[in-house]
């Protein structure tokens, strides 16, 4: 089937809200090339489980297609329309299994040396879309906080090297009660500006007590899910016909009910947490990877105004992928400090990709130690301060 053959009844297997959306825009979708449409449908089919910010941007993208003339539409996707597809790809059920199509498309693009052309065409489309439908700026300036190095005694190489050119380094921060000050600060923002999924706290270990106004995710709380996924993988990996692609597909198809999620959870958060493990790489093994990826996905998808992430020590070896009994894995706090330091840089980069970047603020702190770095509109770049201050004061200088 080609996109021009799409009809409303093709979406009958979609979740209710997704179905409504797809049917509403079916005529717009008929104009898209097959090299691109399944990528869009992959978003549409998950619409019921998307955060408000994602829903809005998807609606705007589809609405934009309704406004484009025939000629404009052709121009927008001219590069994508030139991508040649195999008959095998064309025969896939791309309406109901868009994610599988996209995965196979990726392999096809690499094999046929079309990845660079596709990449260029996709970037061109993205640029046009951003120009036509600018993303909304947040109601308050964004604040990102990264707490790194829990339980680490010290470090061999200077911290925050990637971030120092962008902000001020402090080496006499008073660490006492620091985490509590940060949690209180983000809770206060959440209460003052109650926005659904607008204020997050992600912890790589057991979460500290926090205000329920914060959207919270933690590695420790998701331990049963993680174990269930690893158990499933161990069971499936040696079955006949299993390979990396089949295993990925299997993981992608796993639902919350198979993984022991408690009943009554918010379905949006349930799916978000599930995908951290089924789509993330290394999130099942290392808490530091989990935190970095969760922060990346929270920023990309929910676009929160406030994000506090806390990295915890990670397991030393990688062996719990295959070994079922790893309750007492040896921990590596020094390695986790390095991971967290680089992870904080990625958090900042991902935050800066969102609208309002020029007004956003960022703080990274070596937990229970004196070192921190603050970035914000009023903070001089590439500077160092030897002033004594607590974290609440440092935060007040950038927000």
């Amino acid at each position: 089937m080609e996109p021009r053959d799409l009809k409303p009844e093709h979406f009958k297997a979609y979740p209710p809200e997704a179905r409504k959306l797809a049917i509403h825009y079916v005529f717009a979708m008929q104009r898209l090339p097959l090299s691109f449409l399944p990528s869009l449908l992959r978003e549409v089919i998950d619409y019921d489980y998307k955060f408000p910010a994602e829903r809005k941007s998807l609606e705007k993208e589809l609405a934009n297609w309704s406004l484009l003339s025939e000629e404009q539409g052709r121009e927008w996707v001219s590069g994508l329309a030139q991508i040649s597809l195999s008959s095998q790809l064309r025969q896939l059920d791309w309406v109901n299994q868009p994610a599988q199509f996209v995965e196979q498309l990726s392999a096809h693009l690499w094999t046929t040396h079309q990845m660079d052309s596709f990449r260029e065409a996709a970037l061109d489309y993205g640029d046009r879309l951003h120009a036509a439908v600018p993303a909304e700026t947040p109601p308050i300036s964004r604040l990102g906080i990264a707490v790194i190095g829990r339980d680490a005694a010290g470090h061999d190489r200077p911290l925050f090297r990637k971030l120092r050119p962008h902000g001020a380094y402090f080496n006499r921060v008073k660490p006492e009660n620091g985490l509590r000050q940060l949690l209180d600060a983000v809770a206060e923002r959440a209460k003052l500006h109650p926005i659904p999924y607008g204020h997050w706290y992600i912890d790589g270990g057991e979460p500290e007590g926090h205000d329920p106004a914060l959207t919270s995710v933690s590695y420790q709380a998701l331990q049963p899910t993680r174990s269930a996924i690893l158990c499933k993988v161990r069971t499936e990996k040696d079955k006949p016909g299993m390979g990396p692609e089949a295993l990925r597909t299997l993981l992608a198809q796993m639902g919350p009910q198979e993984l022991g999620f408690a009943k009554g959870l918010d379905p949006v958060m349930e799916r978000f947490q599930l995908k951290l493990f089924t789509e993330g790489s290394g999130t099942q093994v290392f808490s530091t990877t989990f935190v970095q990826w969760a922060a990346r996905e929270a920023l990309r998808r929910a676009q929160p105004c406030t994000l506090l992430v806390r990295f915890a020590p990670r397991a030393k070896p990688m062996n719990d992928l295959l070994s079922p009994s790893q309750d007492q894995a040896e921990m590596d706090p020094a390695g986790a400090l390095v991971d967290g330091d680089f992870g904080a840089y990625y958090n900042w980069l991902n935050q800066q990709r969102l609208p309002g970047a020029d007004k956003s603020a960022f703080l990274v702190w070596f937990e229970d130690h004196n070192e921190a770095l603050a970035i914000g509109p009023g903070m001089p770049r590439g500077t160092a301060s030897t002033s004594e201050a607590n974290l609440k004061e440092v935060l007040s200088w950038i927000t």
Binding site: T112, D116, R157, V233, G282, N319, L321
Partner: protein, 357 residues
């Protein structure tokens, strides 16, 4: 790349003094996948003290090696070894579709099977020694040793060696089944003169799969002394698990192991003074700036950083202390080896690197 020609005093030293028939070549792929910013760019140089301060001054260094093919480790290494951008499934146990450098070398120079070897990290590399090209193919290429596979067979599932037995990092849950002529355990003793017990005892003291590979390489150099030896490192690819510290550990370890191999080349009489060593990553990793990726973790975006890497050549016939910034292609390696050792690489797409031949 901030490394410029001015960094190294150029020298016209070294044109080959040994007859081509006696020359040997060792290729190390510095893998899997390392970015400039963690290696030769100024901020990365602290991770590679051996390459930077010991090997680079003796080398001809190419700052831009561009890989225009598929950025998967097996298929990219196969492309390096054939001089053609292969399109085989990266995760299947398949031979390259074009003749490998080992086949060209053996056929043209009439060398025996013992003269071309590959030491590779994971099951997926088992078929890299020879292609399915009709004019070459089975029996015409290199012998392949998978040290991890040997250790698994020797240890019969004992847990002491788990840290050395991870097949690969990109699909850590899954290891392809072995197909084709594998190096068997009993050949440890026959060919490498290494008892299974000694092998196991030594392995217990090692901390990574690449250390195990280099241990096997040294045995191979001592006992067999192949003229064409290809070593594929892979510890760095733990980056796929997302832990930056482990990625850096992998780079630092690979740096040390490359120096170890160079040291062995200097010490082994069969190699000293007649060997050229090439060290190059198979490709880079994704840029921090590309929103489509997740930085160092993967090599999926196909951005310039993930496609561009470096190559260091040193030893016999190579000028010392020279840096070239002009881009060369990953597929240029095989024709260069052909020109250096005097064999034809007729089906390779790349071109001999003039600065080396």
């Amino acid at each position: 790349m901030a490394l410029g020609t001015a960094l190294l005093p150029s020298s016209a030293l070294a044109r080959s003094g040994s007859p081509r028939a006696k020359r040997k070549v060792v290729v190390i792929t510095f893998g899997g996948g390392a970015r400039d910013q963690e290696t030769f760019a100024p901020e990365g140089q602290e991770n590679i003290p051996h390459l930077m301060w010991e090997l680079l001054p003796q080398s001809t260094f190419f700052t831009q090696v561009v890989n225009r093919g598929i950025l998967g480790h097996y298929v990219a290494t196969a492309s390096l070894a054939t001089g053609v951008y292969e399109t085989i499934n990266n995760f299947a146990s398949l031979p390259p579709e074009h003749p490998t450098v080992f086949e060209y070398f053996r056929k043209d120079l009439r060398r025996p099977p013992s003269d071309a070897w590959v030491v590779a990290p994971s099951n997926g590399f088992n078929r890299i020694g020879e292609s399915n090209n009709r004019s070459y193919g089975p029996g015409a290429g290199a012998r392949v040793i998978l040290p991890k596979h040997l250790l698994a067979a020797a240890s019969r599932g004992r847990s002491d060696y788990e840290h050395l037995l991870r097949d690969n990092y990109e699909t850590p849950f899954y290891a392809p089944a072995l197909q084709g002529g594998e190096f068997e355990l009993r050949q440890l003793e026959d060919i490498l003169k290494l008892s299974v017990d000694d092998f196991k005892a030594h392995a217990r003291a090692l901390s990574s799969p690449d250390e195990l590979s280099v241990y096997i390489v040294r045995q191979l150099m001592r006992q067999v002394a192949p003229s064409l030896l290809w070593i594929t490192m892979h510890d760095i690819d733990i980056a796929h698990a997302g832990a930056y510290s482990l990625y850096i550990d992998g780079i630092q370890r690979t740096d040390r192991l490359c120096a170890d191999v160079w040291g062995a080349i200097q010490k082994e009489p069969e190699y000293a003074g007649k060997t050229t060593l090439f060290i190059l990553p198979d490709f880079g990793r994704d840029s921090d700036q590309d929103a489509g990726g997740n930085g160092f973790q993967h090599h999926r975006t196909g951005d310039a950083l993930s496609r561009t890497t470096w190559m260091l050549a040193l030893g016999e016939g190579v000028r010392e202390g020279v840096v070239y910034d002009r881009p060369i292609d990953s597929t240029d390696l095989v024709p260069t080896l052909g020109s250096m050792l005097d064999f034809s690489t007729s089906l390779a797409q790349g071109k001999p690197i003039q600065e080396l031949v």
